[in-house]
Symmetry: C2
Subunit: 226 residues, 2 copies
């Protein structure tokens, strides 16, 4: 039986770029503008999941039963506008560029799979120096269901010509870890989105590292060896 070599599928926000807190406050701005009061930490715990599910869960917590598609679209637009006001300040996380360069140089396939749409992801990809015309990037626009459904990561594996069971999913949110488990990929958590270690481990992370730089130092633990 041939040795099956790992490929890496990366979440974007909080995993490769330092943008989670800006997303959190952008959602806070959007909900405020619509008169929906929700504690900021509850928003933080939902960031990274599908926008639709995110809204459903937030609305459940606020007790609003029916919000309507028009208002949902307005909330998303308000978020995107607020986020893009902050986006100039968004930077790659420490080690993110070095990690991707290392994988590329070692011939280890990698792709990015994000619950965000290209309208907000493109600023982050630019900060990261990843041209989506040159590297495989799957966004929310390309799949029916986003995280914690596994569709984004499965689409990423397909873009690489790999089985999802051979892939390592790297993310900062429990939704990444849950999607990884549902797809039978190996989940690896990063603390750089602000979740705690136990939250990531309980969501199924096989290992948890601080940020991309820390993952790069321990890459051989999770299959990044050639």
């Amino acid at each position: 039986m041939p040795r099956r070599e790992a490929a890496f599928l990366f979440d974007l926000d909080g995993t490769l770029v330092d943008s989670v807190y800006q997303h959190v406050l952008a959602w806070t701005d959007a909900l405020d503008a619509e008169g929906i009061e929700l504690s900021v930490w509850r928003i933080h715990r939902k960031v990274g999941m599908s926008g639709g599910l995110f809204m459903n869960q937030l609305l459940r917590e606020t007790g609003i039963t029916d919000i309507g598609q028009e208002r949902l679209d307005r909330l998303r637009r308000l978020h995107d506008e607020a986020y893009l006001r902050h986006a100039a300040r968004v930077r790659p996380l420490p080690g993110a560029r070095a990690l991707l360069a290392h994988l590329t140089n070692a011939g280890i396939p990698w792709a990015i799979a994000t619950s965000g749409r290209m309208v907000t992801a493109s600023a982050n990809l630019a900060a990261l120096g990843v041209d989506p015309a040159q590297y495989p990037v799957v966004t929310r626009d390309q799949v029916k269901y986003a995280k914690p459904d596994p569709d984004l990561f499965i689409a990423g594996a397909e873009r690489l010509g790999k089985e999802i069971e051979d892939c390592v999913v790297v993310g900062d949110a429990i939704w990444d870890m849950l999607a990884a488990r549902r797809a039978r990929a190996l989940g690896v958590g990063l603390m750089s989105g602000g979740y705690g270690v136990d939250e990531l481990e309980r969501a199924g992370a096989a290992r948890v590292y601080e940020d991309p730089a820390d993952l790069l130092r321990h890459l051989d633990e999770v299959g990044g060896r050639r």
Copy 2:
């Protein structure tokens, strides 16, 4: 031996008002303006501790060895200015007003003890409807060392005429829990500042609740009974 009745000492940011994420991005703004790059989640994990210790720890993580008092003062001023730009949007956390009203009505003494200075705390106290002329509020300005040193909570207990060993310290940060332990108070953690349950428990929280509303529902678990 007479029954010793509990008093409550509250942290402010993230415990009674929903202001942690605004503080985090205000520190991010200040550090950016000084050309100091630090991941946002690392700032989040330090918020709530003494400003001086906070700076020392951040600088240790960025590898800067000597920053100088002038630059420290400038960073603090930049933070305060950035925070006050966001402060209009800061709201009490769910249940915060009801919890304080319940304690007052039940004759259970309470005080607020914050690592912040009055310049930023006053906006939060106004949002909370607490007049520092009427209720005991201890700020950074009044003690030599802030959290995780226990001085703020000890000063709060003194203001109430209570022994610190009879006090329940309620906070959202591991620095509140550590200060509580150092003073032999009973630490109670709230998740509303964005820390995870295990981080608070490992820092010594006897119980962890979601937010002030959740604490109010379980108040008899930690001594809030008369």
